[in-house]
Symmetry: C2
Subunit: 325 residues, 2 copies
């Protein structure tokens, strides 16, 4: 068996959000979700099992990492070691092309790449479905990053039946995410803590689950007919409802900052001018503008007029997992 493998996984942004776990240990979500994998943000990870190591060694962006993130990575590799019946330590080398922990889903590409490289290095020949189940154990959103384009995570109710599947892997319609990074610092409330607090205390949570199920049906139909405006409307509304859930928790909290609200206003004004632009936000203040390539300049100019120095990145539909061996 080869004991070394390198995989690339792209991050994904959910159009129908994953927000709430029915099973915290196994990361079984309360609802199905749907995402778009992006070409611009990805993680390259090499896993090499080496019996000569004293223990696992994590090098992220050329820095040796210890502490919580290293512990979590080792715990994830233990899942792979258990599957492969080995107990060899590993060196994990990862380059992350996503701003860490600022609501840009860096953990999605990180755990998808780790699942792929780790399982391959351990000699496991996992199917994409099996990879999706495995990636899920590291981070819920990683479940979907195994696949390219539009991917759907079927919540299921057990480890065996909770995984993503491609909904439309080759996206031919004009759709992109214009990412506005207004804040690349670590978020104060992690998504794991945030969603569980919302689930446990928001009186609106149950309705959120049933609404998301309806949104999923509608957006899938809209994707099939390449109906950009409906995709955007549903996605923006679903995202705002997720954030409404947080505000309605006890105590309430928000990932928004002032720039988030200014950007929501800009997006709304663009729509009033006839530019189809829709916002989605995850567990951080940054706004991803669901838009079309023909409107990139107009949207960028509108943003730059308010935030002259902000970083804008345009991401198109990206591919699923790949090996760089």
């Amino acid at each position: 068996m080869t004991n070394k493998s390198t995989a690339r996984a792209h991050t994904n942004i959910a159009l129908i959000k994953y927000w709430g776990k029915a099973n915290q240990e196994l990361i079984i979500p309360t609802n199905d979700s749907l995402s778009l994998t992006l070409d611009q943000f990805y993680t390259d990870t090499t896993v090499e099992f080496d019996a000569n190591l004293n223990g696992d060694q994590l090098v992220l962006n050329n820095q040796l990492i210890t502490g919580k993130m290293a512990t979590k990575t080792s715990a994830f590799l233990d899942l792979i070691r258990n599957m492969a019946s080995i107990d060899t330590p590993a060196k994990i080398t990862s380059i992350n092309h996503v701003p860490t922990a600022a609501g840009l889903a860096s953990s999605a590409s990180a755990f998808a790449a780790l699942a792929a490289a780790g399982s391959d290095a351990a000699g496991l020949a996992l199917s994409r479905t099996e990879l999706s189940r495995l990636a899920r154990r590291g981070s819920g959103s990683a479940t979907r990053s195994i696949f390219g384009g539009f991917a759907e995570w079927i919540a299921g109710d057990s480890d065996a039946n909770s995984y993503a599947q491609p909904f439309q892997e080759n996206v031919t319609m004009d759709i992109q995410m214009l990412t506005v990074v207004v804040d690349a610092t670590e978020k104060k409330i992690g998504s794991r803590a945030g969603m569980q607090h919302a689930l446990s205390t928001s009186p609106f949570f149950k309705t959120w689950v049933t609404e998301s199920a309806k949104d999923l049906v509608t957006i899938k139909e809209a994707i099939k007919r390449a109906d950009f405006a409906t995709i955007g409307e549903i996605a923006e509304n679903n995202a705002l409802q997720m954030h409404a859930i947080n505000l309605s928790a006890k105590p309430g909290f928000t990932y928004f900052n002032g720039a988030t609200i200014q950007l929501l206003n800009i997006v709304q004004e663009l729509r009033q001018q006839g530019i189809p632009a829709y916002a989605t936000m995850d567990a951080g203040p940054n706004v991803k503008i669901i838009s079309q390539s023909t409107d990139t300049e107009t949207i960028s100019n509108a943003i730059k007029s308010v935030f002259p120095t902000v970083t804008l990145e345009v991401a198109k539909p990206g591919p699923g997992i790949s090996f760089l061996n």
Copy 2:
């Protein structure tokens, strides 16, 4: 009969919010609400019926007003003229000691004062319950401004049974609203339009109504035992849920701006330091901090460290309607 009367009404801030009308024409709300009338913000209004006038004349803050506000005032006076079986035009002179239309409930004191002065000038000797019903027709929140201290608006289901009543008019506990005016400009989405959009389109609205009913029971018990922390917790949570409802509407919207979120964070940090401070927000970005007089300086300093030039006003429980004749 006297044909001239001057009344003073104080504004009130709801601890359990009024947000949604079951009957738009009669302003029958979807849920009961509870407020604290404030001593610092009030409106003095003189109504003089004068057969020599060509039509109603509205002078607000020494300025002759025409347009929408004048039309609305005349329509309200028509209710009084109908009750009194007169058709005499009136001169209305009003001085508003509340920043207009920035979520500080200026319409509450305005219509409460207008109801009192107008009905008295028309020779109607209305009870406070009748005044409350009348004020309601001008602006929902005005219903409660007839009474001092903690007032409860019983939603009812008709013009006859939808009115406020005192819950605790003489407030002896230490409770105040520290108002932070970060923006005194007119709000973009009026409360009337905002609440109806939320009611019509938010999937969480029904739950909001049932949650508010529970909050009301809890806060009334807390007021009875002068349990400041519980009053604050319930009020902040109720307010955030109202704003969550707006975010979850289709399309979603918010009255928050960046300063609102910064102030919510300051309030949360103060609580972590052991200072009992709670936030409430209405149809505007301004934050009212429910607090105790002993903490005024600490809270003010915390705010001034982030907003050095902001206007702070401390309001204590205020009285109900009074006549200045």
